[in-house]
């Protein structure tokens, strides 16, 4: 048991170091000299001496490996992700932390709704395979699963915002909203409704498909015949014997999806101008703000590794067969 956990933790640590090194390498092979980017790129006239001075100032004249790489690793470990190009003088870590809550609220809420609806629907569809609910749920899920969520978002904006005018389709707050009032909270929720719906719809299909497949495998298992022979009712068979076995693949999917909570809605955030990590990513891309992008990539890598770690540990709790 503890040996298995130790192995999982060790693997996570090694993966994290690899992620950090890859992340460092990736941004060093992109064309473009950071020093000249800092000085305004090729549009302004800067002398070679000025560029050289900047390179020395930031330590860019030293060899990439191992000097700069070690600098990067030790700074990253201390939480120093460098400075943004676009937002002059601002720490990348501060920028990311500022935007993180909006994304966690958006994707977290959408995940919660999608898991609740998707798993219930999928489990029921798999339990009553071939029934009306199964046909409807499977059809709609496959359609949603294969639809890009930003397109769903655009559709929602066109219908509920532009045509009907029920809900705002842009930003997190109305301009000039009262700070600290109850109205502000309501205003925030109204702005949240459409993007959450878009992200949740995109996720529901996935949960329905996986939960249904898992459940329809379980109902044909021999131990379900044993449960029936023991005189259990349909409900008892579902809750005592089928549900937990069917949850094994679903829990893996849930925990793996947790890794995308921080960066899972880049396109939807762009559609709704939601002030989260996704919006920041798009802004940084447009401005070639490499340090910010590098920070976001690192965050994404770390959260996916952590989600995998949780998935491995959770699976052991649910399924006694993998504990050894």
């Amino acid at each position: 048991m503890s040996r298995r956990i130790g192995r999982i933790l060790l693997r996570a640590v090694i993966t994290l170091v690899m992620v950090a090194i890859l992340n460092f390498g990736l941004f060093r092979v992109i064309p473009g000299d950071p020093a000249s980017l800092l000085l305004g790129g090729a549009r302004t006239s800067v002398t070679d001496e000025q560029i050289e001075a900047q390179r020395q100032n930031w330590g860019l004249d030293r060899p990439l490996f191992p000097d700069q790489a070690l600098d990067y690793l030790s700074a990253t470990l201390q939480g120093d992700l460098g400075y943004s190009f676009k937002f002059r003088g601002r720490h990348v870590a501060d920028l990311i932390l500022e935007r993180l809550p909006a994304t966690i609220v958006l994707v977290g809420l959408a995940q919660f709704i999608a898991i609740l609806c998707g798993v219930m629907l999928g489990v029921y569809a798999g339990w009553r395979r071939g029934g009306a609910v199964d046909h409807a749920a499977t059809g709609v899920s496959l359609a949603l699963y294969s639809t890009p969520s930003f397109w769903l978002g655009m559709l929602l904006v066109v219908i509920f915002s532009t045509a009907l005018g029920w809900l705002p389709g842009y930003g997190a707050y109305s301009p000039g909203a009262n700070v600290g009032s109850l109205d502000l909270a309501l205003d925030y929720l109204r702005h949240l409704a459409l993007p959450v719906t878009a992200v949740a719809l995109g996720l529901i299909g996935q949960y329905v498909v996986v939960a249904r497949a898992a459940m329809s495998d379980v109902v044909t298992e021999d131990y379900m015949v044993t449960a029936r022979a023991k005189g259990l009712t349909g409900g008892q068979m579902l809750m005592r014997h089928a549900f937990r076995n069917a949850m094994l693949p679903v829990v893996t999917l849930i925990t793996l999806n947790l890794g995308y909570v921080v960066a899972g809605a880049i396109t939807v955030e762009a559609v709704f101008a939601w002030p989260g990590i996704g919006g920041l990513t798009v802004e940084a891309l447009n401005a070639r703000d490499y340090p910010v992008l590098q920070g976001i990539f690192l965050l994404l890598g770390v959260s996916i590794v952590m989600a995998n770690l949780i998935a491995d540990l959770a699976y052991g709790l649910l399924d006694p067969r993998v504990r050894q």
């Binding site: 021999d222 131990y223 015949v225 044993t226 022979a229 005189g231 008892q236």
Partner: protein
């Protein structure tokens, strides 16, 4: 428990039972007008090759037929009362309290995510109304009864050997003190030594607790170990029914005889196994007359045209034109 003597000692009566399976519009008859009786505490083996209908017979008695099965004739009576074997909810009170099933525990008949003590205690709580504590105590007693130390109850099925899992299945089947246990090939997939131990255990426990047993198997030697009586099935029908001693000493039906001859017997120095020639019959399109006649070494003209009925013969019953009593003139003419 109800006194079973009021029904002339008959615990179970199967009367003219036929079951069809429908698949894509094609219906095939798995068992055809099966009739037999089982006394309380009696152990009977149901023997036949794959597709002979032995499992369908047993699952019908337990009310566990799959949804594509249809009972097209006959009924099953338990202590004189008709069992609602085609009605899932109505069967529920009967299940496990009266009839329990020992599945192939070596395979996947135990739930992999629950501790075995919990799986044995479950029917005690649901059927006998025990509290969790009482049910767990009973589950541990049952484990000891089948030769597993009570503290192994905390184990999960995958932590046990195939033989141990089969013991757990037996403990589970005894949980609600049933009057009938159906063993569905309980020793398949076990090695020969474990198989013998499991059969011995099952035989001892059921005679000590006076539980009737229907043992389904394709292996006649298994029946010899722990049954009083054996019924041989072929193509959905019972072809011979008699005591174990009688059938082994004097098999009446040619199929039974060939089955016994096909058992390898190292003691007699016989090294060659004699298989029965031919293939099992097609259930959708059965041979006319006696279904065994294309493979039968003693087939006569009448065998291809007329289905032999299962008639009393000596102590048992046999369905074969070779053994029709003399009042049938047609047979006499052929003989």
């Amino acid at each position: 428990m109800i006194d079973s003597s009021q029904h002339k000692g008959s615990l179970l009566e199967v009367d003219g039972l036929s079951v069809d399976y429908g698949l894509k519009g094609v219906s095939s008859r798995a068992i055809d007008r099966i009739s037999f009786e089982l006394r309380a505490g009696e152990a009977v083996g149901l023997v036949g090759e794959s597709g002979s209908g032995k499992t369908t017979t047993a699952m019908a008695i337990a009310g566990l037929l799959s949804p594509n099965a249809r009972i097209s004739s006959g009924e099953v009576r338990y202590r004189g009362n008709r069992l609602p074997i085609d009605h899932d909810a109505a069967m529920r009170p009967h299940r496990w309290s009266e009839t329990s099933v020992v599945f192939q525990g070596a395979m996947n008949a135990l739930n992999p995510v629950h501790r075995i003590v919990k799986q044995i205690a479950e029917p005690c709580m649901l059927k006998l109304g025990m509290s969790r504590g009482e049910a767990n105590a009973r589950a541990k007693e049952l484990l000891e009864l089948v030769g597993i130390p009570a503290d192994r109850g905390a184990a999960y099925p995958h932590e046990l050997s195939g033989g141990m899992r089969q013991r757990v299945m037996i403990a589970m089947a005894l949980a609600c003190r049933p009057s009938l246990i159906i063993g569905d090939e309980p020793t398949t997939a076990l090695d020969v030594i474990t198989q013998a131990q499991i059969l011995k255990l099952l035989g001892e426990l059921r005679s000590r607790l006076n539980i009737a047993l229907i043992l389904i198997t394709h292996d006649l030697s298994v029946v010899a170990e722990c049954c009083d009586r054996v019924m041989i099935m072929y193509s959905g029908r019972i072809v011979e029914d008699g005591t174990v001693a009688e059938i082994f000493a004097q098999p009446k039906h040619p199929y039974t005889r060939l089955l016994i001859e096909s058992i390898p017997n190292p003691a007699s120095g016989k090294k060659i196994i004699r298989p029965i020639p031919g293939d099992p019959p097609n259930l959708v399109n059965r041979p006319s007359g006696c279904a065994f006649h294309p493979r039968c070494p003693s087939a006569m003209g009448i065998c291809a045209t007329e289905l032999p009925s299962l008639d009393k013969f000596g102590q048992g019953r046999v369905a074969c034109h070779l053994h029709r009593s003399s009042q049938h003139d047609k047979v006499a003419a052929h003989a």
